[in-house]
Symmetry: C2
């Protein structure tokens, strides 16, 4: 990795600093003021960059917030940075699929109960429901890779004979995670570890006697 091969290393580094500043500003502002009051002007002012810098990289405030969300939830800082990407991450695998699913879902519960994440994730979730284009972006860039991680863990359990050989892993992921999302999004009841544990146990064992 010489200067010949990366003549613009300094520029890239400065760009990455600006990019992170923009994403951090967007994430914080979404949590503080909500999506409706979030503006490119406000993000630019907090990040200390010009509006044109933002428009060069993102077509809309939804796209900025989406990337900010991706950076903060997966540690993925974008094309130019390092860090662990969604593809490199993995769900825990102790060999006990029930225990591992509970570990992961308890973490999801804790995250959704964190006011800082609640507001930003609620904002993103509302925008996805509103905006079919953002929904497609979300489905491709965040939901699909996250879903693949979950399916990879379930597939390992399937191969170990702990899950049914003909189980549809997409259906399984939905059965486990969608109830958490709905209870949180519609505030239908308290989001607790006990509830998550009951979901895991019932989904694994089934409703029949």
């Amino acid at each position: 990795m010489t200067d010949q091969r990366r003549p613009s290393a300094g520029v890239a580094r400065r760009s990455e600093t600006s990019r992170r500043a923009v994403l951090t500003a967007a994430f914080e502002l979404a949590a503080e003021v909500g999506y409706a009051k979030l503006s490119i002007e406000g993000i630019a002012a907090r990040a200390g960059v010009g509006k044109q810098t933002i428009y060069r990289w993102w077509p809309s405030k939804g796209a900025v917030l989406f990337d900010a969300f991706l950076m903060f939830t997966t540690g993925e800082p974008g094309e130019e940075g390092g860090g662990e990407s969604v593809e490199e991450a993995a769900l825990p695998d102790t060999g006990d699929v029930e225990a591992d699913l509970k570990t992961v879902m308890f973490a999801t519960v804790d995250e959704l109960n964190d006011p800082r994440y609640d507001r930003t994730m609620r904002t993103l979730s509302i925008e996805i429901a509103h905006d079919a284009d953002l929904a497609a972006l979300y489905a491709e860039r965040l939901n699909r890779p996250m879903r693949e991680l979950k399916k990879r863990r379930l597939r390992a359990a399937q191969e170990a004979g702990q899950l049914a050989a003909d189980l549809d892993l997409d259906v399984a992921v939905d059965l486990l995670w969608s109830p958490l999302l709905v209870r949180w999004l519609h505030r239908e009841g308290p989001l607790t570890h006990e509830y998550a544990a009951a979901l895991v146990e019932t989904a694994l064992g089934g409703m029949r006697p």
Copy 2:
């Protein structure tokens, strides 16, 4: 029911006519223009009533839309009318819980795929996610009674020995219906009868071999 007991029967009838006109206008406008552009003024104009008539009965446009949604989805026309209320409704009970759940969930799928309902329900769902007060109203007036209907059918199956005696019926309702809601709201994939059938079968039988 004499005139002595209901001296204002004519007034009540006229009020009910206005109330239905307002709710119909709100439902139609929400589907046509979306919640952001929905206004009390617009509802009043379409319903042919004064704004004050609306403000006398509802504190906000969210509250109007909520009542409209309730009237159109449950056939419940409000305190003064007749018709089947949520409490009087029931899920089908042929004795086959799997078949009955599929019947009901296929109907939910068809409803969510109907553009007229999609837009109104999406609007309501987004408002519930935004607004904790509306979420509480929704939880109490629509979600709780609808959930009770579902639990009543599951309880009958439990008593018939078709479902586990220790099954938490709230968890069961969430496992069955929440994946439909998330797939629809976040447009994560096609909402089909096949998907609903897979949910019912997997939730009933469990993910284990």
